[in-house]
């Protein structure tokens, strides 16, 4: 996908437009450590979703220090965050992973007074509400694990405290991906995943914490189970959900389960699967190969996830300063624009707007029809003039969250049951 010349071009033209903005905002005051910060190397790890080399390159250009990126799958991410605190400086993790990892004390709380754009971070990550009158969705919502008592806090605080566990960076509303050309009729419910019509052509993701939520959305849509709280199921609810899924599995409903992003792309692009749980940029990747693929909005709503940046306990002094500078830079808009042009949302949308064309902002954020061809940061065409984004605007999509990816109280039980389901 990365075509060298195109990437270079788009980056250069972007740079020109952004140079003034960066100069003004990223270096508000000359820093005493501006010279030796160049020797700082920060090691960041996370999933490939946001551990993109171009971000590291841009950091080197704008901030002068070196950021080393390691991309891992989500199991390995959890593992490294929890068990190898010395192997990283910056953890790029999801909020549900944070719920698991935070109590280990491997991460340190972050002082929001050092975060310049804190006030502009969307409400979802602060009080949990998109707009003052929206309700908080089920599951591990980012606000519930986003704050702690102080720099050394190991508990989560119920409201804003001035100390954040993760600085939110990226989030999205997930739904089912479909191949409209192979299905040939409208799809409007999560229940369709288990429709016998798609026998042997459906897929589910095999990351228990996320897969169980998709399964719950399906079972609820089928009218089989009514959940008290999908984000915190009882043992009985877990058993019943997985019983339905196991039955479907034994009947041959699923072609495969996928665990890494790339597998979902290949399953869809090769036509092995026509309906499956999927992530937004995976759709983008399939589409960029000229294969029709839709991120189908469903009447029951979306399953949302969010990720953020956490700092290792071991960071201090100059490196800690550099890390804060990195976070400020991250929220400053360039990365936001970069991520939003792939279909994700930025935690501070209004700064990202500066790094997107009006057409791009209209298409990705406001749900307006594209006025000219929409390309992703790598130069691949994503949408033709006149097309609108699946699901519409930011408010329409993030306003219809049914639940967040979650870690439940009964997580260990759920995981064992999930493993049994996979082995069944």
């Amino acid at each position: 996908m990365t075509e060298a010349t195109k990437t270079g071009l788009s980056r250069r033209s972007l740079l020109k437009g952004a140079a003034a903005g960066v100069a003004a905002s990223a270096f508000p005051a000359p820093m005493i450590w501006a010279q030796n910060i160049k020797d700082v190397t920060l090691r960041q790890f996370g999933t490939g979703v946001s551990n993109i080399n171009e971000v590291a390159q841009k950091v080197k250009e704008d901030l002068g220090f070196t950021l080393e990126m390691t991309a891992l799958d989500s199991d390995a991410v959890t593992q490294r965050a929890a068990t190898q605190p010395k192997s990283f400086d910056i953890a790029d993790i999801e909020y549900w992973i944070c719920k698991k990892v935070w109590p280990t004390g491997n991460l340190q709380g972050m002082d929001v007074s050092k975060i310049r754009n804190y006030d502009k971070i969307v409400g979802i990550f602060k009080d949990g509400k998109l707009t003052p009158d929206s309700t908080i969705a089920q599951g591990t919502s980012p606000n519930s694990v986003g704050f702690t008592d102080g720099p050394d806090g190991t508990r989560f605080a119920d409201q804003e405290t001035g100390w954040m566990t993760l600085i939110p960076t990226i989030y999205n509303a997930d739904t089912l991906g479909i191949r409209p050309d192979l299905i040939g009729r409208p799809i409007d419910s999560w229940a369709e995943l288990l429709n016998p019509e798609f026998k042997g052509k459906a897929s589910l993701l095999d990351i228990s914490a996320i897969g169980i939520m998709d399964a719950a959305m399906v079972c609820e849509a089928m009218g089989e189970i009514t959940y008290g709280n999908k984000g915190n199921m009882t043992r009985d609810e877990i058993d019943r959900t997985l019983a339905i899924m196991t039955e479907a599995k034994k009947a041959g409903q699923f072609r495969a389960f996928w665990k890494t992003f790339d597998e979902s792309v290949n399953l869809m692009a090769s036509g092995e699967v026509v309906i499956q749980s999927m992530w937004s940029p995976a759709i983008t990747a399939v589409k960029s190969r000229g294969i029709p693929c839709v991120y189908q909005p469903l009447k029951e709503g979306y399953r949302a996830w969010g990720g953020g940046i956490g700092l290792s306990k071991n960071l201090s002094g100059l490196e800690l300063d550099a890390a804060y500078e990195y976070i400020n830079w991250y929220l400053d808009g360039w990365v936001g624009g970069f991520l939003m042009r792939q279909g994700y949302y930025s935690a501070v949308p209004e700064t990202s707007k500066n790094y997107m064309t009006e057409n791009e902002w209209g298409y990705w954020f406001e749900g307006k029809p594209a006025t000219e061809v929409i390309t992703n940061p790598y130069g691949d065409a994503m949408a033709q003039p006149g097309e609108t984004r699946d699901g519409g605007s930011f408010e329409e999509r993030m306003g219809h969250i049914a639940c967040w990816n979650a870690v439940m109280d009964e997580n260990q039980y759920m995981v064992r049951k999930w493993n049994e389901f996979i082995a069944a």
Binding site: G48, N53, T70, Q79, D262, E263
Partner: protein, 279 residues
């Protein structure tokens, strides 16, 4: 040359089919590495181009192919050299029974048969519980040795079982010291087999996934990096890498064969036939 029996042709066909089977994925990789710029990891092909070979030398969206390749290569060489040296020493040691040699031998067998993920898990646990940092060149290196050493040692057993001791005795009779005997008689004779041990050591290390999974630390080896890259969109770039690897292996093996051929010629002139038979 006498005439080939009919069974030769039947078996040659079976062998060819086996080769085709082994090369199945290699062919798929080779074809797909010529995907057009918009193509993916699966069929259908979307045009034909050299795009991905060029792209291989550019920066990828995610992951660091050449950095991890460098680490895998260095690690492979480290494992290779260590395996050769330690296996030869071990092979020499096991020629005579010594106290505890039986126990050590059973450890070697255990090391050979223990599921690789157990080594990964165990080494990872030891390092994390004792507060040490895992790193590919320490914990990763050691974990891989538990797999390549038994291999190398088994090959050395095979070599020494075939070793004609009369050469050594002759050397000793003429007043050579133990070291001189090994240096000037034993090592030259087993040298071709050592190339085999080295080749095994490198290949097993270069492709090792499970043993390095929990022991590599901050920096990935190539197999781990490729696995990590699959968490984002992977492109036919990894297939281009595969195709180049295959082409490169063909060259290396060509060189290796040439050297074996040269050694054989030299040996033929010297009239010895010891130390052959194992690759």
């Amino acid at each position: 040359m006498d005439r080939r029996p009919r069974s030769f042709y039947v078996l040659a066909t079976v062998f060819t089919l086996f080769l085709l089977f082994l090369y199945g994925p290699t062919f798929t990789i080779a074809i797909l590495s010529f995907q057009g710029p918009e193509g993916g990891l699966t069929f259908p092909m979307r045009g034909v181009s050299l795009h991905w070979f060029r792209d291989l030398f550019e920066q990828q969206a995610v992951g660091d192919i050449w950095g991890s390749f460098g680490r895998s290569f260095v690690l492979g060489l480290m494992v290779m050299v260590t395996t050769v040296v330690v296996s030869v020493m071990g092979g020499l040691a096991f020629r005579k029974r010594f106290a505890g040699s039986g126990v050590l031998f059973y450890l070697v067998v255990t090391s050979l048969v223990i599921p690789s993920i157990l080594v990964s898990l165990g080494v990872g646990l030891i390092f994390s519980q004792s507060g040490l940092d895992v790193h590919w060149a320490t914990s990763g290196f050691g974990s891989q040795l538990t797999w390549t050493l038994p291999f190398g040692l088994l090959i050395m057993f095979a070599v020494f079982n075939r070793f004609d001791k009369s050469y050594e005795e002759a050397a000793r009779d003429q007043g050579a010291s133990a070291w001189q005997t090994i240096r000037h008689v034993v090592l030259p004779i087993i040298a071709p087999s050592l190339i085999g041990v080295a080749l095994f050591g490198f290949t097993l290390s270069y492709d090792e996934f499970a043993r390095t999974l929990l022991t590599a630390g901050s920096y990935n080896t190539l197999p781990l990096e490729i696995y990590g890259m699959t968490t984002n969109v992977t492109t036919p770039v990894i297939f281009a890498l595969g195709t180049l690897t295959t082409a490169f292996s063909l060259v290396v093996i060509g060189v290796f064969l040439a050297s074996v051929w040269a050694m054989n010629r030299r040996r033929a002139r010297q009239g010895s036939d010891a130390g052959q038979g194992m690759v």
